[in-house]
């Protein structure tokens, strides 16, 4: 299997005033195509920073991050944006839909930015995806008219509409109740299986982790270990219960 993401000894320091805050201290990680990878760890462990590096919204202070074979440190701002647009889909904890656009327009947005498809093709693709996520009946709704779970489905559709190789999800279920969260996760899992799209998501939720093909654990900006989903459950890292905020 091809490696889609390759992180080698990546460090990331943030400047907080005059103080250098190390967020990642030398993380190495390979993600193969088609994985359903969970990044686990407590708050401040560097989960979001690692996702940012992989998602090309940030570049490492040291070390390398390669996404789809491209070293992000060598890319310009524009090229990084291009890479995000064409290769990566994003799912956010608080959904981040454009509130003034309808469901259809939100999903269509990345296609418009790509400028590759005609209007008809775009429409077909958007409606297809909305059907996949079960929102065919809400095409013209505004995000504010939808429930949290429905909004996250719209976000998933938006993340997948460009058929990206990689989808990044930052705490995708944190703002949802457990039943809805599970449904969302099931949807992601299903898309992972049918589309062969690689998913990387951060979470504290052990329940969520149990769905992962593998779980990496971060603490203090360092990679603790990498377990398969089954190993994680076996090791007690992941308990099949719904308890947020555990280490």
């Amino acid at each position: 299997m091809n490696t889609i993401v390759s992180v080698k000894n990546a460090t990331k320091n943030y400047l907080l005033g005059k103080v250098v805050v190390p967020a990642l201290r030398g993380v190495s990680l390979d993600v193969a195509e088609g994985e359903f990878l969970s990044i686990a760890g407590p708050s401040g462990s560097g989960k979001t920073t690692l996702l940012n590096l992989i998602g090309c919204v940030d570049t490492p202070t040291d070390g390398t991050v390669e996404v789809a074979g491209k070293n992000t440190r060598q890319l310009s701002e524009r090229a990084l944006t291009e890479l995000r647009l064409n290769t990566i889909g994003f799912i956010f904890q608080s959904f981040n839909l454009v509130s003034v656009l309808s469901v259809f327009q939100n999903v269509e947005l990345p296609l418009l930015l790509q400028r590759k498809l005609s209007g008809g093709e775009r429409r077909k693709r958007v409606l297809e995806l909305l059907e996949r996520v079960g929102l065919s009946g809400h095409v013209e709704h505004r995000p504010s008219e939808l429930s949290g779970g429905q909004r996250q489905r719209v976000a998933i559709a938006r993340a997948l509409v460009t058929r990206p190789q990689l989808v990044l999800a930052d705490e995708p279920t944190a703002n949802l109740d457990s039943v809805t969260g599970k449904n969302i996760l099931d949807l992601m899992k299903e898309l992972n299986r049918t589309e062969r799209t690689t998913f990387i998501f951060s979470t504290h939720d052990a329940q969520v982790m149990s769905h992962a093909s593998s779980v990496i654990r971060l603490a203090d900006g360092k990679l603790l270990d990498r377990l398969t989903g089954a190993d994680a459950i076996a090791a007690g890292v992941v308990r099949p219960s719904h308890t947020a905020g555990m280490a």
Binding site: V57, D58, F90, Q93, S94, N96, V98, L109, L112, Q114
Partner: protein
Amino acid sequence: MRQGYLATFGVITRIAFRNLFASRLKTIIVGGIILFGALLVVVGSSFVDSIVAGMRRSIVGSVAGDIQVYSSKSKDPLDVMGSFSLEGADLAPLDDFTKVRKTLESVPGVKSVVPMGVNGAIVPSGNTIDLALAHLRELVRRKIDGKASAADLAAYEAEKGHVRQILSVLQGDMGNAKLLKDEKALADPDADADAEAVARAVSPQFWASFDAKPLDSLEFLENRIAPQATDADMLFLRYVGTDPAMFTKSFDRMKIVDGQNIPEGKRGFLFSKFVYEEQVKLKTARRLDKIRIARDERGERIAKDSELQRFVRENSTQVREIILQLDTPKTNLFRQRLQAKLGSSEPDVAKLLAELFKTTDANFDDRYKFFYTQLAPSLELYRIRIGDILTIKAFTRSGYVQSVNVPVYGTFDFTGLEKSPQAGALNLMDMVSFRDLYGFLTAERSKEISDLKAAMNARDISRDNAEAELFGSRPEPDQAAAAKPTPPAPRTIVAEATPGIRPPTSEGVGGKLAREELVRRVYDPSQLESGSVLNAAVILQDDRKVPETIKAIEEAGKRDGLPLKAISWQEASGFIGQLVVAFQAVLLVLVLIIFLVALVIISNALVMATLQRVQEIGTLRAVGAQRRFILSMLIIEAVVVGVIFGGLGAALGAVVVAALGKVGIPAPNDVSYFFFSGPRLHVTLATANLVKALAIVFVVSGVSSLYPAWLAMRVNPRQAMQSEES
């Protein structure tokens, strides 16, 4: 790909529009400011443009013409309207007007050329007591000669009463003056002697013996009393010397109000109706007129307006001007009528008049009517009457005193500018009289003078050593002035009016004029054409071609060897012309300030809006929107607001202007008549103002979105991830 661009633009616009709608409050605030700004620019610049156009019509139509031409050799710039001082601008004359006219008329687009010259004269009003004594002496002589008719005898008695009336006013004045002066002044022996003389003149004994030795009594009055009487106000007249027929034809707003125009080939003077009413009319009557106008036309009330209260006060305290006009029969008539009107038994006419003029809003109309129907017919309402001869004396430019008799033919004003002090400041005189007073030397006169000089063995003496040359020693300054052979600018013109305060003769204007020596006042029209002028007004066929024509005129002057300098109406009207520029500058500053404030407010609102949208912008960036997408989005938002609200504001402004144009803004005071070029300003809308408003709005909304757009571009896609937890 092209379709992709369009679709992207579509989505940007859609997001922009949706955002505007979503953040309604911001949009309304920003849009409101833009709307107001556009409205202000349209209405403000239309208003100022209309005032400028109004002033232009006033200035061009009343004296200046579109272009003024004068000699380029002049020391001062020409100012046909602004200067209210005695000293006019030092202008070199244009010697031969025929040539000047020919040259000017050869310039394309010139409709007509009016010769001109502006100058001023002082008219000391005749001393009332001198006039009354002169009249009395005339009657005394007839009586002594035994030629007095019954009417003359009655007039004799009346005039005696008149003189006594004047004397008692004089005594009252002296008493008042005494109260004001300190003891030192009282100790002045002359003052005592004067007071004694007046006391004697008022005494019944003096008048009892008057009939017995009238000539001695008159001499006493003339020598001892008359010098003590103070003159009424001096009158300063500014006049334009011109060809009256040409002037009337070229300035078509001019119309004759009283009397007639100066006939062709005649010397004459026309009063501006404004000057005639404001300065020549009996002050009490003028104040009554002003109160009436304020009440009837502007709806003001004596009780509420301090200026009207002042008029009432002045009318009731300053009855002297009327009293001085009253001889015995008139005094009796006034007493009788005033007592009946006021239901009073007060015998003193001065007190009765004071009481009459203490008007209130309730009785004003009634007393106004009473004054004009019952009292005014016995009064001389104007110091100078139509048909009087004005003798205007002047120190001419070449140094000798010249005097010219000009009959007052009538009064004139300019349609729409009747109440404007600016348009009404200039009186009119025929060009030939003007030249005599200004002292242009014709070739003949110049030769005559040099012949005289040669005959008398006179030599030229420079001004600086004139005293030494002429007197051998340093004389008194006024002697030196008298001795100046070529004074630098002796344009302080003293004029004397013919007696204004005389009972009207039964003769009409024509009869009175016929008595004058016609020879003096008739001239050959060619004389008017060929002589010198100071300046000339040029009226154009197309008033938009002023700058080109100025150029063409100066070129034509060079071609024909004439020292012609041409200036626009605006330059020629001096201070008033500069007001136009001032108005425009004030508006510009106002607009700049408003838009600067708008810029800050709009920019602030947009910055706030941007900060609220950091997550949305971050999301767009994370999802793959380039920075320029974000930039376009924000600029489109700003421009959409600018265009919609700016357009709305401009449209609203156009409606307001149209309404103002239809109804017209009433002139708030007399001065504004000039700026409004009439009683109401009808504001007109120029397309340029709409374009200007939209352009300014466009620039302001564009510029104000720059900083927020820059902020938005710097939003990091990472910020999309920022939520409660990270």
